[in-house]
Homo-oligomer: 301 residues x 2
């Protein structure tokens, strides 16, 4: 069962404490779909500029990502220049140029409108709603957002959330959205806004899943080296939602496994710049890391 993902396609300049890379392919739709494609076919709806490289489109095609919904507009792709500080948790944005993204109005190709699984990447909540307006009968809608929309478009976001099944955000966003310090309390408040399922990403500290009154907590995979955290959250969402959509799964046990698959995909992403690791993964790599996750977290009852 295919997933529709709406989000950004970008070229980023990334600075880390140890290295930097310019013009790195990024964007939420790219990271999400490259993670999800290991479980499921995905269809991207996004806008790119005329600087979008044909080789990048071919790379997506080669990964079973349908790019029919990738609109090319005159101008440049979304651009972000960011720097990660030495603790890896704090980052500074040096520049954000919306470019062709500024007038993005997602139009869902007619052949996509009966899709069942929809992932609304981090874009304006009003655009996320407009996407949903065009989908006939989605079975599951998952949404990501960020501090900017929580602060500047809260009422639109809350309206969109009422139409969403799964919210996938990070811990600081969950605290900002709910006004609660405790993640347990934050989850309670946010679930009252609509999403039945809440998955809170905690970066290097793991993830926290709340489904009705059930809780699951998972640590992150311990890495020897972090190269570039960009896209890890989107790849997490891709692994999480990709696993669920592939099997049409919605029980709590499957949702827990989805969190681990999300963590697996996020952990690979940070091991290299941009999509370098994510685009070369094999099924054996994924299976092996899932098993390592089992090994390092299992303890006797």
């Amino acid at each position: 069962m295919s997933i529709l993902v709406v989000g950004s396609v970008a070229y980023d300049d990334i600075i880390t404490p140890y290295a930097s890379r310019n013009n790195a392919l990024g964007g939420s739709a790219v990271f999400f779909s490259l993670a999800a494609h290991h479980f499921n076919s995905t269809k991207i709806v996004a806008v790119v500029g005329d600087d979008f490289k044909p080789s990048d489109r071919r790379m997506l095609d080669a990964h079973n990502v349908d790019t029919k919904g990738l609109t090319v507009e005159p101008g440049k792709c979304f651009y972000w220049k960011g720097e990660y500080l030495s603790n890896w948790n704090d980052r500074v944005t040096h520049a954000t140029h919306l470019n062709v993204f500024e007038n993005f109005d997602p139009v869902i190709p007619e052949s996509y409108t009966d899709i069942q699984y929809v992932f609304l990447g981090n874009i304006a909540p009003s655009l996320q709603s407009r996407v949903l307006d065009q989908i006939r009968q989605p079975k599951w809608v998952a949404l990501d957002t960020m501090n900017y929309w929580i602060s500047h478009a809260k009422s639109e976001l809350i309206e969109t959330l009422s139409r969403v099944d799964i919210l996938i955000i990070n811990d600081s966003e969950a605290r900002l959205l709910s006004g609660e310090t405790s993640l347990v309390e934050a989850a309670r408040t946010i679930r009252g806004m609509g999403p039945r399922i809440l998955c809170i990403k905690q970066g290097e500290h793991g993830a926290f899943l709340v489904v009705d009154d059930q809780i699951f907590v998972a640590p992150a995979y311990p890495l020897c080296e972090v190269v570039d955290p960009t896209g890890a959250g989107d790849a997490f969402a891709g692994g999480f939602f990709g696993y669920l959509a592939a099997g049409g799964l919605d029980d709590f046990e499957s949702l827990k496994k989805a969190v681990i698959y999300g963590s697996v995909m996020g952990s690979f992403t940070v091991e290299s710049f941009s999509i370098d690791r994510l685009s070369t993964l094999t099924q054996a790599d994924i299976d092996d890391r899932y098993q390592k996750f089992v090994d390092i977290t299992h303890f006797d009852r």
Copy 2:
């Protein structure tokens, strides 16, 4: 098998974002022994001033904590005044008065010298070594330390670490001691200093255990409300080491369970000021939370 714990006994003034308490019983030896006593009898070696309340000694006695090694000196108990900031992870020290602790020279009572399990709480590394000099044939020595000693007495600390089996520290201390950012790399470096077993506490983010080349990661118990984090790390160590010593256990599976018992004791500690929750716990409370830990972390392979 009893545990000998050497550390501080203190009266603290605590300020949190929501409340404050003055003259709260604290200190590493107190939190450790009140957590460990649920698994095992403990013997404290520490110094207190003549302001140490008889009711506090009676409370320790009532919890099966042997206070024969608690020396009373003229003056006041160790005093710390600290404030937790709204994220709970950062804290500011407003005052530290060593008081009678300034000239603390731990003398191990003769009847304690054949003890097998020794926990060296967070005191000067040279004093930790002096304690070990007085123990005939310890089976397992565990040590805690802090940033101050890592920065100001590193060579003494490294010398002491060569005599230690288990190091229990937090993540920032592990990074400072090793000079590594990644906890995996930090663990490798620190294990080269002596301790075969390394348990890195990550506060609200769980714990990380490294035994030889095996790794275990555990998330923290998700709490609705934090009241006072003081002593959580010491209570973690008490649960961890108490469980191991009680059964004379040293296999990897038992060490993993010890991490969970440590997390259980730490999670109770932060639910109230000082020792309020820790001193009223029942075995059923502990068993129940251990089971909850199993429930919220277990996933299918």
